[in-house]
Amino acid sequence: MSKRSGKLRLREGAAGYAFMSPAIVVLGCFLLLPILYAVFLSFHKVNLLGEVSYKFSGTANFERMADDTRLWIALRNTCKYALIVVPSQTLLALVLASILNMKLKFRNFFRVAYYLPTVTSSAVLVLIFMWIYNSNGLLNYLLDLVGLPTYNWLGDPNVALTGIMVMNIWSTAPLFMVIYLAALQDIPESQYEAAEIDGAGAWKKFWRITVPQLKPVTFYVVVMGIIGTFQLFDQSYIFSAGSGGPNNATLTMVLLIYQYAFKNLDMGYASALAFLLAVVIMLITVVQRLLFREEKLN
């Protein structure tokens, strides 16, 4: 009996590893190994010419960051970007989701329609917006029509980042809208009915029931939004043809890492920057997970 169950357990173990093996190989070689490699690279000076060679450089890569003016510009751009984009897209998503949550006709049509930008490739979206933003483009035409000042959206360092922000709010808000919508549908109808009996109006119900119930989801949406802004790359790369211009106005953290790694071939320093960015993002994620868990328990 015990012999049989031992054999069975062996067979189960073999099946388990057989099922896992493709994932283990892929994630091991192209996720775990690169993570260790990234840490290694961060502490080395990498020479790519000819045979790849490494020279241990201690914390030199990290010390270099303090004097790197372009890093500070990228950080400032990212913060500015996050401060405007995250609240705007969260609010827009919440408003759209609340409206769609009313029992309306064509609700499904609107939901499907609004979601369209999130499935479109960032490369395509940037090109479309560049076409709308160009000096003789649709946006300037519309602004002129209502008597507002027009801008050289692509070339003026004062507004270039704003152009990407608007596009980003427009294209990510629908994703969060869908998340909000799912959460709204989870709020028990009975809570609203009880409030109605107490004579609460629509506005009061929204502030007293909907907003508090959505707190965990809002937290999730805000954190995901912040992480997304830290990872901004495609948009500013295409917008500025890889330069982060005009005058570094669209330089982001990931674009800076890309430039150091593949334009300057300074893989060590680029890895150190990526390492730092990853630590920041992971800290944000961990804090979100912990707070979210507590929120659930209460």
């Binding site: 099946a15 192209f30 409206i99 369209l116 499935v119 990872q231």
Partner: protein
Amino acid sequence: MRQAVRRFRPLVYVILGIYAVITFIPFLWALSASFKPLSEIVSGGMHLIPKHFTLDNYKTIFRQEPLFMRWFLNSAIIALSVTAFNLLFNSMAGYALARIRFPGSGLMFYSILGMIMIPGQLTIIPSYLIIKELGWLNSYQAIIVPMAAQATYIFMMRQFFINFPKELEEAAELDGLGRFGAFFRVVLPLARPALAAQTIFIFMGAWNEFLKPLMLMSDKAMFTLSIGLNTFKGQYISFWNYIMAASIIMTLPALLIYIFFNRFFVQGITFTGGK
């Protein structure tokens, strides 16, 4: 109270309508430009319906840029292979984590959870160096193999299989099917909703991927459509009619998939988003 809601209803529809216009205008404007001759675009007439409707822009991009068709094929080959591998590998791994007791399974589950939190930017440079060392630069496998299994969807499949009725597998085992037989003949066909949601997300992700082909493909013939489009823009600066036609071609496959499978999107988002 009810009456107040009814009174507001037209206003609500107006808001919804306006936002629908805001969503559609960029796409319609791009579509319209793709059917306009350049002369009409530069003359500055701001009308949505082309005055001189033409298909020349589409013909020209295929004729003048002989690699355009190749880029389209590259994108398709990569996106389809990545999707196929992920469906298979993520389901197998998710199933093992949900159903099979094997030494180390707990550790593996927590590793998968940890990997979901690792931002991709960390692995860009080392992955590039590894792929270069393997001699894979400018090859399909450079993008396909590293993307062939993804921790997020392994987790998603595990959650799906954990709620899956056990009786079916037990019946399959009584019929003499082993673990593999039961998985491929019984479990996988019943996992269709989860597989559909996964298909859409992974296909879209691979089709729209920008950074990976940008760093791994330097040979123009190996570009994907997203990178090709970017060089195309550099080459045909201010030929917005061509650029918009090319953009529309890139959007179409993703758009069609979205229109046909949009209900799975919502399932998938609420599944991965809500946790």
